[in-house]
Structures are given as C-alpha cells and as structure tokens.
C-alpha cells in the first residue's frame, strides 16, 4: 500500500524535474494528490479543520517549492485550503442548527450537500470505504461524485443506523473529510472539463467571416477555435508561429486537420497583420490578481499591437490558472529561462563560446525567457470556465475561490 508520503515525494520529484507538462495536468495531479492526503489524514475529534489545513499546507508548501514556476500548483493548494475552510464553516453552522435537514442555504455549493446529509448513513459508509481502500490514484479517481453519491446497496446503512453514539461521533469526523473530498472531486472535474466549459462560449464570441489571430499553441485556444468551427461558424485564423519553440506550426497542423482556414505568419509580422484582424485570442500561463497575465513569450507584443489598432484582446484560461498573488509579490517567480539551444545551434556558435581565447568571460549571451507579462490594461476580456470577465473583475473572482488567509502558504518558514 503506497504511503501518502511516498506519493508526495514522487510528485515533488516529478515537479522538480519538470516532468509534468502544462498547467492543467499539474493542477489536476495536485488536486488528486491533495485528495489522497485529506483522505488518509487521521482526524481527532476536535479541531478537525485545523488538522486538515495543516496537513494540506505542509504538503502544499513542498509542492510549491518544487516548481515555483508552475503557479497552478499553488493555486490548487490554496483552492483546497479554501474548500476546507468553507466546509468547516458550513458543518459548524449546520451542527448549530442541529440535525434539521431543512437547512436553507444560499450557497450553491450547499445544494448538493443537503442530498448527502439526507443520505448521511450511506455517505458515511462510502467515506469509510474510501479510507479503507488502498488510496491509489486509480481508486481515488473512481470515487468521482457520480459513483460516490449513488447509494450503494450495502448493509452498512442499516448497521450504522443501529449504532449509537460512537457511530455518531465517527460520522461527524468522517463527515468533514467526506465533504472536503467531495468538493475536491468537484474541483478535479472542473479542471478536467474546463476546456469544454470555455469552448461553449466560443460561438458567442466568434462571428461569421471574422479573422482571429493567435500566437503559439495553447490547448484552450485550440479547443475554443474548434468548437466555433464545429458550430458551422466560418472564420479564418492567423497563427504567429511563436518563436523559438514554434508551437504555432503544431497548432496550424491541428487546425487544418479540423478544416479551419489557417494562415501562418512570423511573429515579427504581427504588427503588419493586426489591422486585418477582428480579434486576438491567446492562452495564458497564469492570470494574476490584478488582471495581469503571464503568457508565453511574444504575446505582450501582440497585445500592444492589438491595443494600437483597437483590436479586442481576449485571454482564454481555465480557472485553475487564476492566481491570488500579485505579480510584484516576491513569492511569484515570473519567468523561466530555457536553454539557448532553442535559439542557436550550439555547434555553429561554439567558437563564440570558446572561453579560453576570449579572455575567460562569455561574450555571447543568449536569453531565452519562457514568458511575457501582459499588464491588465491591455486585456479586453478573460474567458474562464465560469464565463467572461473583464480584468477589473478578477479580484472579485479571486475572493470567491480563495481565502485571504491562504495567500501565503509558506507560513511556517516566515514565523520560524
């Protein structure tokens, strides 16, 4: 049976070695890992929420430190901390109201929970089973809400009804955990389906015979464009190739395969072409709290060109990319510098880097940043899985998703 700690170590190593590609995968795997952390955490009778928070925070700190460039990991850790706080709040609230099932809550999240309370016995059994079973990612994946919420025809329901106070006590401790796990499952599902959620809005934004410009390759953008195409919108796409990784070429291939009219241009031709463009749609690496965007290198230039020609600049991103930190926050690592071999062929330039003949200091420097920062004033609209938002509204979204207490996950190191 794999211990949680080994799972955590494994994941930390993967993050450290940059073996997980993309924000979505990182976010999903982080959520899954934290779900197993929550499910394996032994809870005392009192202060359950604090114990859970500490456990998640301890793991989260390691994860964030492992790859500070991937902000999605930190976002998910904070989301889950927020979930625990919320669940704790509602459970104490409901405990105060007694066991009445008619608790009316104004929160959307509580809607489902009422069902669970009604089925509390079955839910307790399900939660108990999920803790007893080997908490591998596989089995945890099976425990997605649909299957878990379906009442199981086991005898446990009757048993627990018959049990007395001890069962009630355990059910209370299980309940918080169970609710948290349910909420995390929802979160995972949200991450999984964010592309579809975003793509649904495509038809509303892309109109007939428009020209769309994008740079590089973003999966979200691809799905967005394909969704519009499937709805029989006919439009053209300009793709700036996105040097030095040239992922725009890959995107062009994919779009052509889907039957879209595609034009590939060089990055440097963006300004020349922007006057013919109706809308710029790009993906993002992260959306910061002030509405600024961290996006693949070159996009700032596109944003400036779009502003000059008053072309709407739309950023599509799943809500897991929404980061509660500000770009000036010292914890935020804004950029990642990749290998110069993307730009130059090492062999051809090896004579420029012969330090023995050039006085010992490298005269040729190659800088290959991965990201650009786009200030919020250049962004016209954000499309997330929850709908379209203007940059000035981002702070409000963040207040929904995150609790202000969790912005700094690294609490221990600051106090000590």
């Amino acid at each position: 049976m794999p211990d949680v700690q080994t799972l955590v170590n494994d994941f930390v190593l993967k993050l450290k070695r940059r073996k997980i590609e993309g924000s979505q995968a990182s976010a999903k795997q982080t959520a899954e890992l934290l779900r197993s952390v929550v499910s394996q955490q032994r809870l005392p009778y009192i202060n359950q929420a604090t114990v859970l928070l500490d456990a998640v925070r301890a793991v989260g700190e390691q994860l964030i430190a492992a790859n500070p460039v991937e902000l999605a990991v930190g976002n998910i850790v904070r989301r889950i901390l927020h979930i625990i706080r919320e669940e704790d709040l509602t459970s104490t609230a409901s405990a105060m109201e007694g066991l009445s099932l008619s608790a009316n809550s104004d929160d959307d999240d509580n809607y489902e929970r009422e069902d669970h309370q009604a089925l509390s016995a079955a839910a307790v059994a399900a939660a108990a089973r999920s803790t007893l079973r080997a908490p591998s990612l596989q089995t945890l994946l099976e425990g997605i809400p649909e299957s878990a919420s379906a009442p199981h025809p086991s005898s446990s329901g009757g048993d627990s009804e018959g049990k007395s106070k001890s069962a009630e006590r355990s059910s209370r401790s299980k309940k918080l955990k169970h609710d948290v796990i349910e909420a995390i499952n929802e979160l995972i599902q949200d991450i999984e389906t964010c592309h579809e959620q975003i793509s649904e809005q495509a038809v509303g934004l892309i109109h007939q015979n428009e020209v769309i410009l994008t740079l590089g390759r973003s999966r979200t953008v691809k799905e967005f464009l394909c969704a519009a195409n499937e709805k029989k919108r006919s439009f053209r796409v300009f793709i700036a190739e996105g040097a030095p990784r040239y992922l725009g070429h890959v995107l062009a291939k994919e779009l052509v395969a889907k039957g879209l009219q595609t034009t590939v241009i060089t990055d440097s031709a963006v300004f020349a072409m922007i006057s013919r463009v109706n809308m710029v749609i790009v993906g993002a690496h992260a959306i910061m709290a002030n509405g600024g965007v961290i996006a693949p290198v070159g996009i700032n230039m596109v944003a400036l060109a779009a502003q000059r020609h008053a072309v709407p600049f739309v950023v599509v991103a799943g809500s897991h990319k929404l980061c509660p930190l500000y770009p000036h926050n010292p914890e935020v690592l804004l950029n990642d510098f990749k290998s110069p071999s993307d730009l130059l062929d090492f062999g051809e330039f090896s004579d420029c880097m012969d330090f023995s003949t050039s006085g010992g200091s490298p005269r040729l420097h190659v800088v290959n940043p991965a990201f650009d920062f786009i200030p919020s004033k250049l962004v016209s609209l954000f499309i997330t899985d929850t709908g379209g938002h203007s940059p000035s509204y981002i702070y409000r979204l963040i207040a929904d998703y995150y609790s202000a207490d969790d912005f700094v996950v690294r609490r221990r190191s600051t106090t000590s």
């Binding site: 170590n9 071999s341 062929d345 880097m353 200091s361």
Partner: protein
C-alpha cells in the same frame, strides 16, 4: 547466455524491445590524473560543478532518459563514492531507477573496469557506457532506437558513439573543452565511424588514412569539427571484447582504434550526432571552466542551478544577467555581483567586493574589497579582506589571509592556507599532500599512484602541525612564495608531466595573450602551407614527428636551403643530446617531406658538422683543423649512415667545396687536410675522391682551386690505387 537472450528478444517486435530494462555503466573514476592534486583527497566525480557533484549531473541525466539500472563502478576513493550515493536521493528514491555500486581496487583503466563488470555478469542487453563526469541533456530515444535497428540488421554493429558538432579553435587547435582536436572519418550514409584520431599532430597538417577505407566506401567525410561526448551505447559484446583483448585499456585509444583497425572480426562502430542538445565531459580544468559556464548559460537545461533536479533541495533564484543566488546569502550593499555568478547558500560577501563570472560555494566568507573574477570557490572557503583572485580554483576549507593574490590558473586544494600578502604565481598547484615522488607519465597507471596518495594522508596532520606552529609569526612585510610555508600550509606542486609550457592549455585561466598571438602567427604561417603540404604527402603516408615542426614562411618551402636549415636544427638538437637514432629518424622524415635524396641528406649533414666545428673558439688554423677533425670523428657514424653509395660521397665533397668557397677564410686553406682526414676516417672512399677529381678536370680554372690544393693528395691516392691494381694483377 544472457547475450543470446537479448538477441532473441531484439528480433521480436519493437514492443518486446522496450520491455528490456535499460542499463547503464557509470565509471566513477576517470583513470587519469588531470585533476591532481585535488583528486588525491576526493574522487573526481564528487567534485562540485556549479555547486553540485559531477556525478549528480550524470545520474540525473541517466534518470531522465529512462535508464532503470545504473552500475556505478568505483575504484579510487570508492568508500567516498559509496557513502555519497547511499546518502543521495538516487538510492533512497523509490521507483524504477536503481543505483548499484561495484567496487574494485585493482582496476587501473576503463578496460579493467569493464572486465570486472563482465565477470559480474550483470549486463543483460544494450547498455550505456558513460563516465561519471559527463554533463548532458540529450534525449536518448533516437540514438537508442537507431542502435537497436542497426543491431537487428547487422549484429556486428556493437557500439554507437554520441558526437556533437563543435568547432575547434583555429588558433590553438584545441576544442573549447581543452582537448586536442579530434579527426573522425564518418561514412555520410550509414554514419559508420571509419577513423578516429584524438592525438593528431597538427603542426604537419597531415593525417594518414588506410587506403582500404576508400576502396570499400563510396564516400567518406572527414571531420575535425566533431566533439566526442564520451557517451556510448554498447552491446554486451563490448564487454566480452574487453575481456578477450586484455591489453585494451583506454576506451578510445585502444578499444575504438583497435576495432577500427581490426578487419578480422569486422565489428562496427557507428556515430550519432546530437543537434540541439548538450553533452560534454569534464576532462581537465579547461573543460571544468567551460562546462561550468555552459551550465550558467543554461545550455544544459533542465540541469541548471535553479531547477531543483540535482537534489540539493535549495531553491536557488535566478536574477537578471545570470546571477544565481541561494536563499541565505548575506551580501553587503556595496558589493558588486556581476553577471554569470553563483552565490551558494549561507555565503557572506563583504563591502566593495567585486565578483564576476565566478561560482561561490556554500558557507563561504568573503571579506571587504575582495575581487574575484572567473574563479571557482568551493564550500566553506574563507577569503579575508583585499584578496584578489582571478581564474583560480579554490577547494573546500581553504583560508586566504588578507591581501593574497591568486594569479590566473592557480589551484588550491583542500584546506590549504595562504599567508598575508602572498602572491601565488600563475598555474601553481598547492596541496596539503606532498607531490608523489614517483611520477609515472603513463596515464593508465596513474590510479595506482592515487592509492598510495591515500596511504600518505596520515602524514598531513603532522605536517600541518609543524607548519601551524609558525602561524603567529606571519607578518605582512615578509612576503614572497618562500613564506608560503611559514604563514600558510601546503606544498607547491611542481608542474606534472605536461611541462610548464602546456599548463596554459588545460588551465582554468584563459589562454594568455602572448600565447594567443604566438599561435596566431603560426596559424598565419600555416595558411600558406596546406596546398604545398598536400602535394608533399609522401606515398608511404608516413607521419612526420612533431619535433620537425616549425614550418617556415612557406615560400621556398622545398628549397634545399630550407632543408639544410631543418637538418641543421635537427643536428643542433643532436648536439644538445638527443639520441643518435632519433636524429636519424628525424632526418629521414625530413628527407621524405622535402623530397630529398640521401645525397642531399649527407651534404646537409656534413654542412652542419662543419658549422659545428666553427662554433668553438679557435686561434689558429691548426686549432680549427683540430676542431673539425674532432667533429668529424664524433659524427662519423651519423655521416656514414647516409654515405651508402658513391654518389653521396661525391655530394659530400662537392658540399665541402661549397662550404670552403663560402667560408674562404676558415676552411679553404684546410681543404686538402680535411679531405685526407675524411679519407683516413673511412668516411670517403678513394673512388669517390678520384671520380670527383676526374669530374673537376673538365671544369674551368676558378672551379679548380681545391683540386689543385689537394693535387698532392689525389696524386698519392692514384698511385696507391694503381699499386693496388698492380698487386692484384
């Protein structure tokens, strides 16, 4: 046999192939002593390269390319390597990556190591052979599948060598890694390696290829711009080949060349060129410097300090201009940190310190007004105020007192202490351990020395104590290297076998300007030469030894005067004490390269001898005559070597005549005397002298001076021969 098993699987579908465990053999020993004196105390693979032991880079790469089983072969300092690995992330880590150590103390070469591994019988299929000081981020998948495909078609293709495009410097003929230029011949179609030479004699612009290569192959491309990455994908046969040929020691010099020459077995070696990724091996101090800088320039991404691949767990931050800072650096506001610098954890930097292009380890203390440029400073080094370091390597625990200056290329080994105001001269190596007296120039045997080095280590303590007694007496006024021992601790090593002239090639310091301009001159001289050179390639394809170097200005290249000069230079060396045989060898090769006959050689040689006779002072003709006779006697053996036929002897006489005309004052009065002396010493036969006289009879008066002068001698000779003839009748 395990071998057979893999063979069978390789003939199956590719899915079967992927299921075999990929193994790697990592040699945690370089079997060389280029990093001495440091390697006397710590194995090379554990030396920090940008604050992480070299072996970390190699293991991290192996892990990233999907190797599942690594056998680390340790020899010298095996305990240190083992205990390091036991405490590292690699052995603790669960999952598919396992690291096993194999220990042997008898191995003195890579060949021995592979033979030991063969006896263990642990290699089941294709494996990667790598040395523990290799830094790479290449992807192996393509090379590996190419190798396996070739193996399927041709079981004799037993090895794939990874190479990389990299131009050698036109000036110094060395790669940026400080190795010599490598010449490879590669079949452009199949990428088969046909020829490999890593010790090319560049002064001659000559390499010799077996003409059979051209007979077999339709095309062949010769490269000098390829760098050997020392990453090999080998089949299990490689191990058994090493076992069969017990004299294979060096991987390249013996094994690769041996296979290329060997026609009987027909084993083939192929190359795989990597395009955008990085691979290089730390072979000497120069490559240590170069690779460190490449890492800081991020060519090795993701194996760079700020990505936590290498397991020190510290979150290093990359600032602008390539400045890497560990979390707990204490830095004075007035300190100036320049581009491409690493500051290790818990290091403090004092006021007005200037640090550029350097790597500073953990826990170092750098005082005020210190200047550090292009240097490598390892952990826990204490540098007091006002020191100046440029292009130096400073190991763990070194203590530099105030005002010390390290000139370029200095190596300070572990815990060396340097007293106040001392200037450590360029390229000096200082260690607490005394230099082993037994200097064995044979690289293969060097690790035997390293073991004796360990045995010697107990004596450090006593030695250090002896020196430390004197510490308080150190004062700033008495400076100089002699003081080194009084106020500091450490032995200055004399430069090892390469000699001091070669020190600059492999040092951390950039090549000094004067050396550069020198090689620049040579390079320009060489520019004219090549076309003549190519025409000069003798049919036999013999290589010129390097001592006959200094190519002239290239214009009168083949002129006999030039040849004479060369011979004279060679002869001068002979006077300086070079072996007679070597001189003959050199003159022979000169003769071949200049297309001269034996007669020319003899003439030129005689010329040199006579010149040598003029060198010592002489007061009278008799003195000069005595000198000449002495020289002639001394070198008669050498001369006789070239005087095989009559023509050559005549040539010598003609030459002598020429000399006498040139140096009318000195030799012309002595002509006949010396001629008779040559006859007496049996250098010239009477036939030669007579036919020379005969030849001259028809000449005009001015040419006859010397025949007239020696008329008497010739007459006597004639009579003698006639007498002889008469006797015979």
């Amino acid at each position: 046999m395990a071998q057979k098993k893999t063979h069978r699987t390789s003939s199956d579908d590719p899915e079967e192939l992927t299921r075999t465990v990929l193994q790697a053999v990592l040699l945690a020993d370089s079997f060389a002593q280029k990093f001495r004196p440091i390697t006397l105390e710590r194995p090379k693979v554990l030396l920090p390269l940008v604050n992480a032991p070299m072996i970390e880079y190699t293991l991290a790469w192996l892990e990233s390319v999907g190797v599942e089983e690594v056998f680390v072969f340790c020899c010298a300092h095996s305990q240190q390597v083992k205990s390091y690995l036991e405490n590292s992330q690699w052995t603790k880590q669960p999952g598919a990556f396992s690291v096993t150590t194999i220990e042997s103390h008898d191995a003195i070469s890579a060949g021995d190591a592979l033979r030991v591994i063969y006896t263990h019988g642990i290699i089941r299929g294709d494996f990667i052979l790598i040395s523990g000081d290799t830094v790479s981020n290449m992807s192996l998948a393509k090379a590996l599948s190419e190798h396996k495909d070739r193996r399927k078609k041709d079981p004799l293709a037993i090895m794939t060598m990874v190479i990389k495009h990299s131009k050698p410097s036109a000036l110094t003929h060395q790669t940026r890694l400080g190795n010599d230029e490598i010449i490879m011949a590669i079949d452009p179609g199949t990428k088969e390696l046909l020829y490999y030479e890593d010790k090319v004699d560049l002064s001659q612009h000559l390499i010799s290829l077996d003409k059979m290569l051209l007979a077999d192959k339709s095309a062949l491309s010769l490269h000098n711009d390829k760098q050997d990455c020392y990453i090999d994908i080998c089949s299990p046969e490689v191990l058994s080949l090493f076992t069969d040929n017990f004299d294979y020691q060096h991987l390249r010099r013996h094994f690769v060349k041996g296979l290329l020459i060997d026609d009987i077995m027909g084993y083939k070696i192929f190359t795989h060129e990597i395009q955008s990724s990085y691979a290089a091996r730390v072979d000497n101090f120069r490559s240590y410097d170069t690779i460190s800088k490449d890492i800081l320039q991020r060519w090795t991404y993701p194996f760079v300090p700020d990505v936590q691949y290498l397991g020190n767990g510290l979150q290093i931050k990359l600032d602008r201009e390539g400045i890497y800072k560990a979390p707990e650096v204490v830095q004075s506001r007035s300190a100036h940190i320049d581009s491409f610098t690493v500051l290790g954890n818990a290091t403090t930097v004092g006021d007005n310190a200037v640090i550029s292009n350097s790597v500073i380890g953990q826990g170092c203390t750098i005082g005020h007004n210190v200047t550090i440029e292009g240097s490598y400073i390892w952990d826990n080094v204490k540098i007091e105020d006002g020191c100046k370091l440029s292009h130096a390597l400073v190991c763990d625990g070194v203590h530099l007192r105030a005002g010390v200056v390290l000139e370029p290329g200095v190596i300070l080994s572990f815990k060396v202490e340097v007293g106040q105001q001392i200037v450590v001269p360029a390229y000096s190596k200082v260690s607490l351990l005394p230099q082993p007296s037994k200097q064995d120039s044979d690289e293969e045997l060097e690790y035997a020395d390293a073991n004796t080095g360990i045995i010697e280590s107990p004596s450090i303590a006593t030695m250090m104590n002896a020196q430390k007694v004197d510490f308080p007496t150190s004062d700033a006024d008495r400076s100089g290297t002699s003081e080194f021992y009084v106020s500091g601790a450490g032995y200055i090593w004399s430069s090892c076998e390469g000699g001091n002239e070669d020190e600059w090639r492999h040092s951390i310091a950039p090549i000094p300007a004067d050396k550069l301009s020198e090689s620049l001159l040579n390079a320009f001289a060489d520019v004219d030469a090549p076309d003549q050179d190519t025409s000069c390639i003798p049919a036999s394809g013999e290589l010129l030894p390097d001592s006959a170097s200094t190519v002239g200005d290239g214009e009168d290249y083949r002129d006999s005067a030039d040849f004479e000069k060369e011979v004279e230079a060679t002869f001068q060396r002979a006077l300086a004490g070079v072996d007679l045989e070597n001189v003959i060898l050199e003159i022979n090769s000169l003769r071949l390269s200049y297309h001269m006959s034996h007669a020319d050689c003899a003439g030129a040689l005689f010329h040199s001898i006579m010149k040598a006779a003029l060198v010592p002072s002489y007061s009278s003709k008799n003195d000069l005559y005595a000198n000449a006779v002495k020289e002639i006697i001394k070198w008669s053996d050498l001369l006789k070597h070239y005087l095989k036929t009559l023509d050559e002897e005549i040539e010598v006489i003609l030459k002598f005549e020429e000399i006498s005309v040139e140096t009318a004052r000195e030799f012309s009065p002595l002509f006949s005397n010396i001629l008779s002396c040559l006859y007496d010493k049996e250098i010239l036969s009477e036939e030669a002298i007579l036919s020379w006289a005969q030849e001259k009879e028809g000449a005009d008066e001015s040419d006859k001076i010397f025949t007239k002068q020696s008329e008497q001698f010739i007459k006597w000779l004639r009579e003698a021969s006639e007498e002889e003839d008469g006797d015979n009748d």
